[in-house]
């Protein structure tokens, strides 16, 4: 054991490979699908096939969201660098390419993370290869996801789902949707369960697709469920309403997905920073790491601050993933990573536009696009404020009743 925060050596090849894919597959179509919102990026099918091929060959450990399940095997004390680290590293690289396209990757949806996190072995097998979107948010319920009003009522061997879900990423393109619904609203958060609803199930309808500020390559759907019947065995995890265990099961998904969203912010911000460094160098501004920032130009000093913030966010992201790999509870660290990455993602991408002036503001460059794409990363999977709330409660040891 020794402290080492360099990227794990064993994932170097994976990271470089993801970087090549991002550069040569995603970047060339990045602007195209930013402009052609709601058009399906057909190029991604080829990419998905390639990734499937890689995972079958075992060469892409955790190349996507499907890899976030905590490995139970092995009780030796050795330090693990596993699929969580691999996932955040490769997703950051892919988002260096394009966040919207990464979110549109077939079979890599957030619903897949939910399945990987809470499904039992039989379900894991049954849903293998599905492309699952995630449906939590409702028109009246955002961050307080314990308060959802979509209902699931047991009827024989089926559950009957009723309600409306919004902001469903890949809601139209995915094969299935993981829907959060309550078995009994009076029992509070303990009664919230997630259900896999296959596309084409009668009663499930994609109402419309949203027009958005950024990540326009990714479709964001409004889906209604009207007496939508799903098999009882599609309820993920245990059907029991355990008031003591409460919300923990459903929320555990977030411990796995928040570092992934942090990695998206890290990748997007690094795209901005890498290009800005190049543009500044062309303009004669070279950042010197040894000279004090106050002795350099204002642009160089700002650059140093942004790079420091980004490195901080990236290390918090790696820490959260490393803890998951080593089976340590990480909800505090996952929220820290997402809070830091979310806010510096916005600061960096917006500041890079400012440094590049009207060149940065123009659609001729991608800087303006990244500054629009980054905003959602400080919102979905828990806003900045929700992350701060979680961190504050943990640090201060306060309950949600004490610190509202």
């Amino acid at each position: 054991m020794a402290i080492n925060l360099d990227d794990p050596k064993k994932f170097g090849a994976l990271r470089d490979q993801a970087h090549q894919v991002a550069m040569n597959m995603l970047r060339p179509i990045s602007r195209k699908y930013d402009q052609a919102e709601h058009e399906y990026p057909k190029e991604l099918d080829m990419l998905a096939a390639m990734i499937d091929g890689l995972s079958e060959s075992g060469a892409s450990e955790g190349a996507g969201a499907a890899g976030v399940r905590r490995e139970e095997s092995g009780d030796d004390k050795s330090v693990k660098n596993g699929s969580n680290l691999a996932s955040v590293m490769s997703i950051a690289e892919m988002c260096w390419g394009d966040v919207g396209l990464l979110l549109s990757m077939p079979r890599q949806g957030l619903g897949n993370s939910a399945i990987a996190s809470v499904a039992n072995d039989e379900q894991l097998k049954r849903f293998e290869g599905t492309w699952a979107a995630m449906a939590i948010t409702e028109p009246g319920v955002g961050s307080d996801s314990a308060n959802i009003s979509t209902t699931a009522v047991k009827d024989g061997d089926e559950y009957v789902i009723n309600g409306e879900k919004i902001y469903v990423t890949s809601g139209e393109r995915a094969d299935s949707v993981v829907v959060w619904a309550t078995l009994d609203k009076s029992l509070g958060r303990a009664a919230i369960k997630s259900f896999v609803v296959q596309k084409g199930t009668p009663g499930m309808k994609v109402e419309r697709l949203e027009h958005k500020l950024g990540i326009r390559a990714s479709d964001t759907a409004v889906i209604t469920f009207t007496d939508c019947r799903v098999p009882a065995e599609n309820l993920l995890g245990s059907p029991e309403v355990d008031v003591k265990q409460g919300f923990a099961g459903a929320m555990a998904t977030f411990d796995n997905t928040r570092p992934l969203v942090a990695s998206m912010a890290v990748g997007c911000a690094r795209a901005s920073l890498d290009l800005t460094r190049d543009l500044l160098e062309q303009a004669g501004v070279v950042v010197d790491y040894d000279r004090p920032a106050i002795n350099q130009s204002a642009a160089a000093a700002k650059f140093l601050q942004m790079e420091a913030d980004l490195e901080g966010a990236r290390l918090l992201m790696l820490q959260a993933a490393w803890m998951a790999d080593n089976r340590q509870p990480n909800s505090l660290e996952a929220s820290m990573a997402k809070a830091k990455a979310g806010r510096v993602g916005s600061d960096i991408t917006l500041s890079c536009v400012e440094l590049a002036g009207s060149l940065g503001y123009s659609e001729n460059e991608l800087l303006e696009k990244w500054s629009r794409d980054s905003k959602i990363l400080d919102i979905f999977e828990g806003t900045q404020q929700i992350q701060q709330l979680i961190v504050a409660r943990r640090i201060l040891g306060l309950s949600s009743a004490e610190l509202k």
């Binding site: 054991m1 020794a2 402290i3 080492n4 925060l5 360099d6 990227d7 794990p8 050596k9 064993k10 330090v79 660098n81 680290l85 790491y289 040894d290 000279r291 004090p292 920032a293 106050i294 002795n295 140093l304 601050q305 790079e307 420091a308 913030d309 490195e311 901080g312 966010a313 290390l315 918090l316 790696l318 820490q319 490393w322 660290e333 820290m336 809070a339 830091k340 404020q385 701060q388 709330l389 961190v391 504050a392 409660r393 640090i395 201060l396 040891g397 306060l398 004490e402 610190l403 509202k404």
Partner: protein, 454 residues
């Protein structure tokens, strides 16, 4: 000089040079002169002033540095010294300290909590690190942490990571005392890293002895927009050695120091020089600052100081100096993390017990979110610092990593100091609580160059 001239306000007392007084201003300035003169006292017009407690002020002491020991020359000056080995990393991302490091952190943490914390407030007032505190630091081996085993130290390999963890643990107790305690070891570590066989054998035995000399790494200079890589202190080559001229600031325990490592420009490159305190031409003046006061910060003036050709420490092409600057910044980052942790540990119970409007203020998001942000940024500071440290220990290039760590630690460290006081409100502003001291200490992080290193 006319009376009017001496009453001109600009250029002194923090007044910009462009300021001018109007007639009323001159009248006020004249009255102030009268109030300051002892005429009032001689005619017994002033109420007896309270007896002031002795503190080291700017003009409090000025001494030629006194030598209390001669370092007996030994070893070959043409042979490179013994070097600590790189501490290789297996390529696994890991946040777990080694067993040795953990043991060290536990011991130092205990020392910080039981020795530094109780001594901190008074040391801040007196600008002195108590003898007992310094003695106890020898017992736990702090000065020899960075010295290779072959030379009487305890380090089997590069100690940058262990040194970082130790500096953090010490600063969690008190930054000023941490700096005082770390200063001799910093010079010893520098000798271990860059000294010739002669330099190591001449000076290092004293550091592993029971009577460790005070020593200081003097890189800072008192100038605006100071760029550590271009010191205005000069070294001029002579037939038998070098002549040094210039002023160095933030010199730890300058009056007691027996050995200085001084940064100076030699033929356009920054270079480190070993200067014994007995050398002619040195003068020390107490120069306490807003914080880190327990370290007895001083100004060292070098006037035609002659040193031998064997006084150069390391390379003369600027590479050793740059490495030294980076390792020193790393130490300051570690100090920032330690003090930042002290702030977090202090405000956490405070906001949970302090009540306003009928409930603990921690129940308010505006308060709770400040605490959350302290925790988030502190952890980011720590990870950046550890990354740089572990690369340094492994012998890898860490210039980028330490630059980023310093940027974040300077900026967010200060924010943590600021928020620490703010969270306590008026209570934070008074000396009953340590947060105001941490606020002053954390301002040092982005400013200090040299002084300590790991």
């Amino acid at each position: 000089m006319s009376l009017i001239n001496s009453l001109k306000p600009g250029g002194r007392n923090g007044v910009p040079r462009s300021e001018s007084s109007d007639p009323i201003g001159y009248l006020v300035a004249g009255l102030n002169r009268l109030a300051q003169s002892d005429i009032l006292d001689r005619v017994k017009l002033r109420k007896p002033a309270e007896q002031a407690v002795f503190t080291v002020t700017r003009n409090g002491f000025k001494t030629m540095t006194a030598a209390s020991r001669t370092f007996a020359k030994a070893g070959s000056k043409d042979k490179a010294g013994a070097r600590p080995a790189d501490a290789p990393r297996p390529g696994v991302f890991d946040l777990t300290p080694s067993e040795d490091e953990q043991m060290l952190v536990d011991v130092v943490g205990e020392y910080a909590a039981e020795v530094l914390v109780p001594a901190a407030a008074e040391a801040n007032e007196t600008c002195l690190a108590p003898e007992a505190v310094l003695k106890a630091s020898l017992e736990i081996g702090i000065p020899i942490l960075g010295i290779p085993e072959a030379l009487g130290g305890i380090s089997e390999e590069r100690s940058a990571m262990a040194g970082t963890l130790v500096a953090e643990a010490l600063a969690k107790g008190d930054m000023g005392l941490a700096v005082a305690v770390l200063a001799p070891g910093s010079v010893a570590t520098a000798l271990g890293l860059w000294g010739t066989e002669a330099q190591q054998q001449t000076y290092l035995p004293a550091f592993s002895d029971s009577d460790v000399p005070a020593a200081a790494l003097a890189l800072n200079e008192p100038s605006v927009l100071f760029d550590v890589l271009s010191p205005s202190t000069t070294a001029t080559k002579t037939a038998g050695g070098y002549v040094l001229n210039g002023v160095k600031s933030a010199v730890v325990r300058g009056a007691e120091a027996e050995l200085f490592v001084v940064g100076a420009t030699l033929e356009g490159k920054p270079v480190l020089f070993l200067v014994e305190s007995s050398t002619q031409g040195l003068a020390i003046e107490g120069d306490p600052g807003m914080g880190v006061r327990a370290a007895s910060l001083s100004t060292l003036t070098l006037t035609d100081v002659t040193v031998g050709s064997d006084a150069v420490l390391g390379a003369t092409d600027g590479t050793t100096y740059a490495e030294c600057v980076r390792l020193s910044r790393l130490a300051w980052c570690a100090l920032a993390v330690g003090t930042g942790q002290a702030v977090l540990d202090y405000v956490t119970p405070y906001v949970k017990t302090r009540e306003a409007f009928g409930e603990p203020i921690a129940h308010r998001q505006s308060v709770a979110f400040m605490v959350a942000n302290i925790a988030i940024e502190l952890q980011a500071m720590r990870l950046l610092t550890y990354k740089a440290a572990s690369r340094a220990a492994a012998g890898k290039d860490f210039s980028r990593e330490v630059a980023l760590a310093r940027k974040l630690c300077a900026e967010k460290g200060m924010q943590i100091g600021l928020d620490g006081v703010q969270l306590l409100g008026g209570h934070g502003f008074v000396k009953e609580h340590p947060v105001e001291r941490w606020y002053r200490d954390l301002r040092a992080v982005g400013i200090m160059e040299g002084t300590v290193l790991v």
